[in-house]
Amino acid sequence: MEGVIAGALLTMMAAATVAIAVQRNLFAVVILSGIYSFLMATVLVALDAVDVAMTEAAVGAGISTVLLLSALHLSRGEEVKPLHKPLLPLAVAVATGGALVYGTLDLPAFSDPQAAIHAHVAPRYIEQAYRETGVENIVTAVLASYRGYDTLGETTVVFTAGVGVIALLRRRRRAEKARA
């Protein structure tokens, strides 16, 4: 049953991706990428990664769609037709995709308990997290406590991204005022 659900969701995601690539109307592209994000969030729920699914639904389908729509407001609604045939980019994309698929052949089987990633620190977190932190959700314990440095780094990345966007868009606004 799980296989059927995952298969159906992945098929719909592939269909959405093809539709995004073919579609020239940018409004449709934005809505399709929102649909893609919701499908991704559903896949993550099916994989029991509810925390990530929540983030994907809120950021990927919610905020990103709003931001893309407000960016669309500043540009034309139709994608410009490419001037030449995109054969070289296609070849690069196919080669990269092929290399990545080749790389997955070496990965341990999905949810293999003997995989290196499940044999390293994960058992300790699962056994000790509740006793040491008193937090029932192991994801929260790992994120905020065991991997506190990483989360501090992530927060700093969000901070830096925000500062970068402010620096880019604000200066432009001031320059426009000076011109006017």
Binding site: V50, D51, A53, M54, T55, A58, V59, G62, I63, V66, L67, S70, A71, H73, L74, R131, E132, T133, G134, V135, E136, N137, V139, T140, A141, L143, A144, S145, G148, Y149, T151, L152, E154, T155, T156, V158, F159, A161, G162, V163, V165, I166, L169, R170, R172, R173, E176, A180
Partner: protein
């Protein structure tokens, strides 16, 4: 959108529940899925909804740009401050065990403040980016 009565009423009803759900996601993150990042995005989304329905100026009156820009930094400072508090209390940086007499309670306290820092920064950055994009569109219209 200001003239659509149904949207105005429904949005006003929804925003309260959205903020409540964000608080639930934030503080229930210890037991169920959720945490600072998700809660921050949900708070930002509720303000974005407010801005879409009632206009950008109304949203900017509720949460001015200056406050938002300060909050972007405050969140990171809260997170880093938890680390410094650990240092001052004789532990390592981001060591929560020393934050309270009881180590498990110290962990709780540390995680609480760290998640609060994440919430503040994520919320402020998301909303600021939205403000910037939305206001650019309007300036282009004015020209």
């Amino acid at each position: 959108m200001k003239d659509y009565l149904v949207l105005r009423v429904i949005a006003k009803l929804m925003i309260g529940f959205m903020l409540l759900f964000a608080l639930y996601v934030q503080f229930h993150g210890d037991f169920g899925p959720g945490g600072g990042f998700q809660a921050g995005v949900i708070v930002a989304a509720s303000i974005v909804l407010y801005a879409i329905i009632y206009g950008l100026d109304a949203a900017r009156t509720v949460i001015p740009d200056r406050v938002i820009e300060a909050l972007i930094a405050v969140g990171v400072l809260v997170f880093a401050g938890v680390g410094v508090a650990g240092l001052l209390l004789g532990g390592n940086y981001l060591d929560y065990f020393v934050l309270s007499g009881d180590p498990v309670h110290g962990q709780h306290r540390g995680i609480f403040w760290v998640e609060a820092g994440v919430l503040i920064t994520v919320f402020a950055v998301m909303l600021k980016v939205f403000y910037l994009f939305a206001s650019r569109g309007r300036e282009a219209d004015a020209e």
